[in-house]
Amino acid sequence: MLINILILLVKIILVPVGLLSGFAIMTWFERRLIATIQVRIGPNRCGPFGLFQPAADGLKLAMKEDLTPANADKAVFVIAPMISLIAALLAFAIIPFGPDIQAFGYTIPLHIGADVPIGFLFLLCVASLGIYGIVLAGWSSGSKYSMLGGIRSSAQMISYELSMGLALVSVLIYTGTLRPDEIVGFSGLWWKQFPAFVIFLICMVAETNRAPFDLVEAEQELVAGFHTEYSSFKFALFYMGEYVNMITFSALAVTVFLGGWHGPLVDKIPIIGLVWFLLKTAVFMFVYVWIRASWPRLRYDRLMKLGWKVLLPTALCWVAMTAVWVVFRG
């Protein structure tokens, strides 16, 4: 019993560490990949292939002066970035990133809480919490640009969260379980639930405020949106939050639609499951950056239109069709 708690604690420490190192690698990866796509080189001065660039960036941000605007609501201003990051990290708790591993005579399940019967409900709740960070940041900064960015962001996230939730719901109806570790077992969900998969992908990008849905950070109009007034480490927290969110949602998409850690050789060597999981997640991260390098930003009204008039009806129809299918299948 005690050993189980210990194992859990170690995982609870290791997973955020893994996520944050993933964030560091991701910042480097994104800059390099976008540069490659734009026929440039990208950061390559700092360490081999510029791999120490994230560390340099972090150091630079840590050295910066930590400004708080005079009009800011101090307490909220400080708490907002923390909410942003914590929500992003929390969501990962229900993601199974590998099979059970036998080590030192103990069984170590490679997940933190994926066996919770209401896993996906928890996920949706936590994903919604992330909005608080952004709204509060925008509101507490006491600047109109932050305010506008925060309002936009909240509107965007709320509208896309609906469709995302519905896309997930259709999968949940189809599989008949709310437990992430069970859904991982279903293979080929991405083509069996193809519309849900596409909707989920679109909403995933919108949820994490990435291009082409990065209205929140529309530099041309809003300076930097909700984190205009943030500097130094608080800014870094938002940055982390965004990237960790990307990783979490990618991992979620992998878990729900691509069979998570399942893959060849996993039955023989369980730890390979973790490798598969990371590889599949990396593919999604690649797609994120690829899309960012390819597509222009949506205009705000069109973004809302897409969310409410296209994705939501489609998702609803698909939920209904899935439900009918499940009922008649018996």
Binding site: Q38, V39, I41, N44, S294, W295
Partner: protein
């Protein structure tokens, strides 16, 4: 008559067009991943200028060591940004600098004002001033951008920069 949006009347067609063009965009960027980079890693690799590139000026000498510049100030007159200052002085038999009557005692170019148009080169009757391929003109002090004659004039005639293909007709 339906309202034409995006060049088509059918919503399905419009959707298809959108999806198609977005996919084409993705494929285009994917193709670019495999292109060779155009970036030059500057301090290590240097861009090699073209023969007609207009960089830093140079005042040339004849093979016998005399300066080509005869202090006529035509370059100064031709300069659109007024960044050349020439102060001519008489040549004497004891102190002969150039083959003509006069030579440039002072020849200054303000590189902060210069727009590298090459009009001075065109105006020069003796092809004394040419533009080299040197584009590394960064400096630490504003006053260092005023190039005096000592920095413009070539030391030995064999170091003369070649005339641009336009001049060497």
């Amino acid at each position: 008559m339906a309202k034409v949006v995006g060049g088509t009347k059918l919503p399905l067609r419009k959707t298809w067009n959108t999806v198609f063009s977005f996919t084409v965009g993705l494929l285009t960027t994917f193709k670019h991943i495999f292109r060779p980079n155009v970036t030059i890693s500057y301090p290590e690799e240097k861009w090699v200028p073209y023969p007609r590139f207009r960089g830093l000026h140079q005042l040339r000498r004849y093979a016998d060591g005399l300066e080509m510049c005869i202090g006529c100030s035509l370059c100064e007159a031709a300069c659109p940004s007024d960044c050349i200052y020439v102060e001519p002085a008489e040549n004497t038999d004891e102190d002969r600098r150039s083959p003509g009557e006069r030579y440039a005692k002072v020849y200054d170019i303000n590189m902060l004002r210069c727009i590298f148009c090459g009009y001075c080169v065109e105006a020069c009757p003796t092809t004394a001033i040419v533009m080299t391929g040197n584009y590394e003109l960064a400096d630490y002090d504003r006053k260092d951008f005023i190039y005096h004659k000592d920095r413009l004039l070539v030391d030995k005639p064999e170091d003369n920069a070649p005339l641009s293909p336009l001049e060497a007709v």
